[in-house]
Symmetry: C2
Subunit: 461 residues, 2 copies
């Protein structure tokens, strides 16, 4: 029997004990946003460090301005093995509203759900259950001769509040934490219950508020309407000009660095038989908008956008008021992909706005942050190995998925540690994360653990 088969057997044989350990962690109400739970966050961190130590790893709980971060180190049995950093978070969302839970949120239960056994508790899926799949895979290796990779563990307790302490922590511990070759993150979803997914692309985000000013004060539209410039008109024209009739963004240079999908990825996405009609219908829509000729999945995962997230000017109460407003403003956001340069996009945007200002219109720009897209190269060797490992476990090819939104920690790993991330998770869309009765499929927990064993094995092969 090969080592990996022994490891997988060990996982199967010890599943109930693994579940019991996860339940211990789920019983700790480590809600990060509510100061009343601060001590419980500390307890969860201590519990995780203890788990690492019990496996023979070094581990400590390090203080931050917020909740502690657990750092652990494990050596592979082979000195020249690859080195990975595994990230997870032990904090959870508040359980409110409590009256919608069928049982106490921090009293985990294993119940028979419509698609099989489910672990129900706050944090079951996000992220305690996912985090533990990796830890249990490590445990199985330790019972069978040791790890195939060196592993650095990083467990934070502020993910649900935006990870405020993490960037400073990475910077302060850069030498220690930048040793690994690759980050592994278990905080994402499968494509569906049968099909695993690796999230390989995250869109970037650049945000800018624009304030257009005209007359020095609000004016009566009867007494002044005509010769007085109306900032709402100026702003609206700019917004209207930002897209052409085919839904493309008209900013000069905007599509520089936007790659077309590799043929095999495009083929895979088409083969997913994603039901656009059902997706849109849930939003009250019947037809895809946006870039003509591009599907919903491609648009959300792999195409850049320009959206106005808010606009306001003049009188917005009930009824009418004959006012010519002194100013109007809008909040713009650009989702970025590939190697689009956020700085170049913002410069092009500002020039675009300035070029459309009539005499006497003044503009103010308020930057609200800009970061580029993150892409694990499609040709990456680690990606190919992880895909093979997941196919072996699930008998289905893993979907190379994108994510329309950003995941700040991935950006932090790239920016602060210069490290790519392989995002593999076993959550399902109906896990009710952040909602009452959050659950994690027992199958996800079991086969997720097996998947990590296979991935670690594959990475070291």
């Amino acid at each position: 029997m090969t080592t990996i088969d022994a490891v997988l057997n060990s996982i199967d044989a010890n599943l109930e004990a693994a579940r019991a350990r996860l339940f211990d962690l789920l019983r700790i109400p480590s809600v990060s946003t509510d100061p009343a739970f601060t001590q419980h966050c500390q307890t969860a961190a201590d519990w995780l460090a203890q788990q690492l130590v019990s496996l023979g790893y070094t581990a400590d709980v390090r203080a931050t301005p917020g909740h502690p971060i657990v750092v652990g180190h494990a050596r592979a049995k082979r000195k020249d093995a690859p080195h990975v950093l595994f990230y997870g978070h032990y904090d959870v969302q508040p359980p409110d509203p409590l009256d919608l839970w069928e049982a106490a949120p921090f009293d985990p239960r294993l119940i028979q759900g419509k698609d099989g056994l489910e672990i129900v508790a706050r944090g079951a899926s996000d992220d305690k259950g996912q985090l533990m799949t990796f830890l249990e895979a490590c445990r199985a290796f330790e019972a069978n001769g040791g790890l195939p990779c060196h592993v650095t563990f990083l467990f934070e307790g502020e993910e649900e509040t935006g990870s405020p302490s993490l960037p400073g922590f990475l910077a302060a511990n850069r030498e220690e934490l930048s040793q690994p070759d690759l980050a592994l993150i278990c905080d994402t979803s499968m494509w569906n219950a049968q099909t695993p997914a690796i999230t390989v692309m995250l869109r970037g985000l650049a945000q800018e508020e624009v304030i257009i000013r005209g007359p020095s004060h609000d004016l009566h539209s009867g007494m002044f309407g005509g010769p007085v410039l109306n900032p709402i008109h100026v702003l609206s024209k700019i917004i209207g000009d930002l897209h052409d009739d085919t839904g493309r963004v008209t900013l000069p240079g905007f599509y520089d660095g936007v790659p077309e999908l590799p043929q095999d990825v495009a083929d895979q996405w088409r083969s997913l038989e994603f039901d656009e009609e059902e997706f849109l219908s849930a939003l009250g829509l019947t037809q895809p908008g946006g870039e003509a000729g591009r599907g919903v999945i491609e648009q959300i995962w792999a195409r850049p956008t320009c959206d106005v997230n808010g606009v306001v000017g003049g009188y917005t109460g009930k009824g009418s008021k004959t006012v010519l407003p002194a100013q109007a403003s809008a909040k713009f956001s650009f989702r970025l992909v590939g190697s689009q340069d956020p700085k170049a996009v913002m410069e092009s945007f500002r020039a675009f706005v300035r070029a459309r200002l009539p005499a006497d219109a003044k503009v103010e720009f308020l930057a609200h942050g800009a970061s580029g897209a993150l892409q694990l190269p499609f040709g990456s060797e680690a990606l190919a190995r992880a895909r093979r490992a997941l196919t072996a476990e699930w008998n289905k090819e893993a979907v190379l998925a994108g994510c329309g939104g950003s995941i700040p920690i991935v950006g932090a790993f790239k920016r602060d540690l210069n490290m790519d991330a392989l995002m593999i998770g076993f959550a399902l869309d109906d896990d009710r994360i952040h909602s009452p009765n959050e659950k994690y499929s027992y199958t996800s927990f079991h086969k997720g653990t097996r998947s990590w064993a296979r991935v670690l094995d594959a990475l070291s092969a």
Copy 2:
């Protein structure tokens, strides 16, 4: 000596007595908006009725759902004389803020101002002083053989609160009040202290709120941005499309019924040497916007507009929020001139909006009222006579002025009584109406009274 000369002499000789009567009226704090002053409004109405009765006219104070309306009737010495309706209002704005008044607002004073004697009190200009110029002109005729015109007097007490009772009152008394051939209104301004003005055109106003709806609920712009239509974009494109590069409104048929100015009027307006630079500079602007090639005065008095008075959609608080909003809305107003049909304009506007809705965008229209422009025909005989009368008094030709805003009572006279209005007033731009230390020039009071005597005489000639 002709009658008019005798009348003018009489006005000159009795000016101090006239001023004393005005002061009696100014002492009554007839603030219409504040229920605490309701009894004072009644007192002012009674006082005016008493004035009419003392001149030998019939007069009564008629109850309305709000403050009373005074109606009086006076017969001319000649049975076949023309019949005019004179309108004024006895209510005033609240005097607040009281601490900015140099003396008590309802304790009128005659003081030496920088340009001559001034009557200072709340209502001195708006509209008690103006109203009394007409009454004193009538008094002078009565002392010299009688009126040259039949006169119906209509004094209301709710002008400062939007004249809510007036339309119902006109409708209920249509037979009585529609006998006159022409309405005379004294509630407007001179062009400047030396130059009288007759306001002959008021722009109309049509208002419509537009709500554009897209997805059924707000969405995360990362998770959904791309294929989901953004109602802010749809609305902005519509607003942007409403004007062309020369500032003209692009609605089909919008300029139907928009006349070019008669040459003599255009020449007069040009000769006014209106300081556009100064006008714009007070608004923080340096150049006229709007329709290319049209001056500021022409645009405000005689050209139609389309303005957005308010727009709102999505997140409008501080900072950023990555939301795709479910709806966006804007309040549109159209200032109308000439014979533009408000109904046709609104129909064209709605069609324009509907033609620009992408699939899945829904629109709701909320009408906020629509009324056409009011224009005293430039060729009107009454206008020609009034101009001659004013030229005789001021030694300057009266400016045929427009007013960019609407004056609801003029619309009510036209709509409910089918009566044109001749608006002649002697207020000055620096009269501080609605503000502390409101004043009325003693010269306006004196020469205003003389002007009305000349106008009444001219109308009956």
